[in-house]
């Protein structure tokens, strides 16, 4: 039985290099989403029949696609569509999921178990397919896809927060706050929320990566985003046929997607590990 202090000291406090790198990539991704159209060296939608399928050069760093559009510019501009949806989904679901998760965890009882059954069900469904079926059947575009993903993500967030809140609810300091006669909202927001908020943050990053991939997959399948748009998923599916002649046109958006998702997962995992280590000590 190793004493707690030792365990804490044995672990290094500094942020690993890899995670720092991941943070940089995530920030870079957001910067691309914000300023991609400014940074883009060419017009991402400008067709040019003279410049089709060019290999990478100093003018076209990543070459051009079959319509002669600059691949790099399309990847840079595509970041906005790739990031915007996930950010909206994740923020909305973190807010709603945390609130309802807190309420369920605080109150417990019948309401809690009914709510949990429903979220269990929702979070066991394959998010992508539900989105595919619903966007397909409802004929809607991007908005439907975002709404469906949001609903499923809320379920995930609720489960996580509710579980953590339930655990904190058992702690002596919560009982002490209640015997002091503090109000329900004060107990929830001062004594429970700050001790589960780290988990919410970790989850924001993990969800961000997941939603990013789900929405990209939808547009890869041809749903949500109109054809020809500068969108990573669309570029992938439309440029698969170019693998022989200009592989970068398909691989570059794929690489951007993976790099971004990996980085967000790394950050999320790190936050999660840091919290659980702190709790253990």
């Amino acid at each position: 039985m190793i004493e707690p202090q030792t365990r804490r000291r044995a672990r290094s406090r500094r942020i690993p290099l890899l995670v720092l790198g991941a943070v940089v990539v995530v920030l870079g991704g957001f910067a691309m989403a914000a300023f991609g159209s400014v940074l883009a060296p060419h017009d991402p939608y400008a067709d040019s029949l003279q410049n089709t399928l060019l290999s990478p050069s100093s003018t076209y760093w990543l070459g051009t696609d079959d319509a002669g559009r600059d691949v790099l510019s399309r990847v840079l501009v595509g970041a906005r569509l790739a990031v915007l949806g996930p950010v909206v989904v994740v923020i909305v679901s973190a807010l709603i999921g945390t609130l309802f998760g807190l309420l369920a965890g605080y109150h417990g009882g019948v309401v809690d178990s009914v709510v949990m059954r429903v979220t269990d069900l929702l979070s066991s469904l394959p998010a992508l397919l539900v989105a595919v079926v619903l966007t397909g059947a409802l004929g809607g575009g991007y908005a439907v896809a975002v709404a469906v993903t949001c609903l499923l993500t809320i379920a995930v967030d609720m489960r996580v927060v509710r579980g953590a809140a339930l655990e904190v609810r058992q702690k002596a300091y919560v009982a002490a706050a209640m015997t002091l006669g503090l109000g329900k909202w004060r107990v929830m927001f001062v004594h429970i929320l700050p001790n589960v908020v780290g988990l919410v943050v970790a989850n924001v990053f993990l969800n961000l990566a997941h939603v990013l991939v789900v929405l990209a997959a939808l547009s890869f399948l041809g749903l949500g985003i109109p054809p020809g748009a500068a969108d990573w998923g669309r570029m992938l599916s439309e440029n698969i046929a170019l693998l022989q002649s200009q592989p970068l046109a398909a691989i570059a958006p794929g690489a951007a997607l993976v790099l971004f998702a990996v980085s967000m997962n790394l950050v999320g995992d790190w936050v999660f590990d840091t919290i659980s280590n702190r709790e253990r000590s």
Partner: protein
């Protein structure tokens, strides 16, 4: 013992039947939620004379109340009569079963690959922290969880189909050997995603278990290391592994759709995308029911597996 298993399975099945019922209701409602009137959803662009309209209205009972329509639809669905595809005018059930072969083969191939590679890698990583195995496992789990199957597929397609053409890249192949050859790249891509989850869950679960008192107690009593690892370590780490396998199986549903699209394979997934892009409602309904049934089946298998490995669960159902 047998009684306990049956009792458990029955209780789970009841829950899942309820779940399927809810899903079926949502699926049926799609006819009404889809843009246009229900007749559009059923008949599509079929040239519509008044006679045809009348015939379809009578056939599907569109003039009857909603709940009656639902019940008769449900009755037909239970008998596996899922209607006709608007696009091809073929039975939905027949189309699905025809295409099922490729999808099942692909998924099974990928699942076997992922388990056969993932579990040993995770065990190596958990027992040798801070070695190359550990790093490899962590990398595989992060990248596997993050990288969507269509990107992995695309990269494999480029590397081993275009750059160094080792594997065939079109069609699904006939006969077992040919099919293995044709489906290897898609299966590897699909397995990579699964590998990430399996390694992540198995490694962390085994690490937690290896930290337990009963492991140290076993070692202190002189239990041989191999037995400590398997009978004390891995055996008690199984529950999260089963969870991961369940997630992987459900993930294969979405994964196979993406992979079939990437590699243009004639599987159920590819058909589903066609159906969705052309708003082929009966086909979509059939697919949705298939997905729901598969999810239910997988959860049942997962629950039975939990039951098999957990003495506590078994005891609770015995009494």
């Amino acid at each position: 013992m047998v009684k306990a298993v049956v009792g458990y399975a029955v209780s789970r099945l009841a829950l899942m039947a309820g779940l399927l019922l809810v899903v079926s209701f949502v699926v049926f409602s799609l006819t009404y939620l889809a843009p246009g009137d229900p007749l559009d959803a059923i008949a599509g662009n079929f040239p519509r004379t008044p006679e045809v309209t009348a015939a379809l209205t009578a056939q599907y009972g569109l003039d009857r109340p909603f709940h009656e329509q639902y019940l008769s639809w449900l009755g037909r669905a239970v008998q596996l009569d899922l209607g006709e595809s608007i696009m091809t005018r073929q039975s939905v059930l027949v189309e699905i079963t025809e295409r099922m072969g490729v999808t099942l083969f692909l998924s099974a191939y990928a699942f076997v690959l992922a388990v056969a590679l993932g579990v040993p890698l995770a065990v190596l990583a958990a027992t040798r922290p801070r070695t190359i195995w550990d790093r490899l496992a962590v990398t595989v789990s992060v990248v596997g969880v993050s990288a969507p199957a269509f990107v992995t597929g695309l990269v494999l397609l480029y590397l081993f189909g275009v750059r160094w053409p080792v594997f065939p890249i079109y069609a699904a192949g006939d006969g077992f050997a040919d099919r293995v050859a044709h489906l290897t790249l898609p299966a590897v891509a699909l397995a990579f995603m699964a590998l990430g989850l399996i390694v992540k869950f198995t490694r962390s679960s085994l690490l937690t278990v290896l930290d337990q008192d009963y492991i140290t107690f076993a070692r202190a009593r002189g239990v041989p290391p191999r037995r400590v690892l398997l009978r004390y370590g891995l055996r008690n780490a199984l529950v999260p592994v089963i969870t991961a396998l369940g997630l992987v199986l459900i993930g294969m549903l979405s994964g196979s759709v993406l992979i079939e699209q990437t590699f243009s394979l004639p599987g159920v997934g590819g058909r589903m995308v066609e159906a969705v892009t052309s708003t082929d409602i009966p086909m979509i309904q059939g697919m949705a029911l298939l997905i729901a049934a598969t999810v239910v089946l997988i959860s049942l298998l997962v629950d039975l597996a939990y039951f098999a490995v957990s003495p506590d669960l078994r005891r609770r159902f015995r009494s």
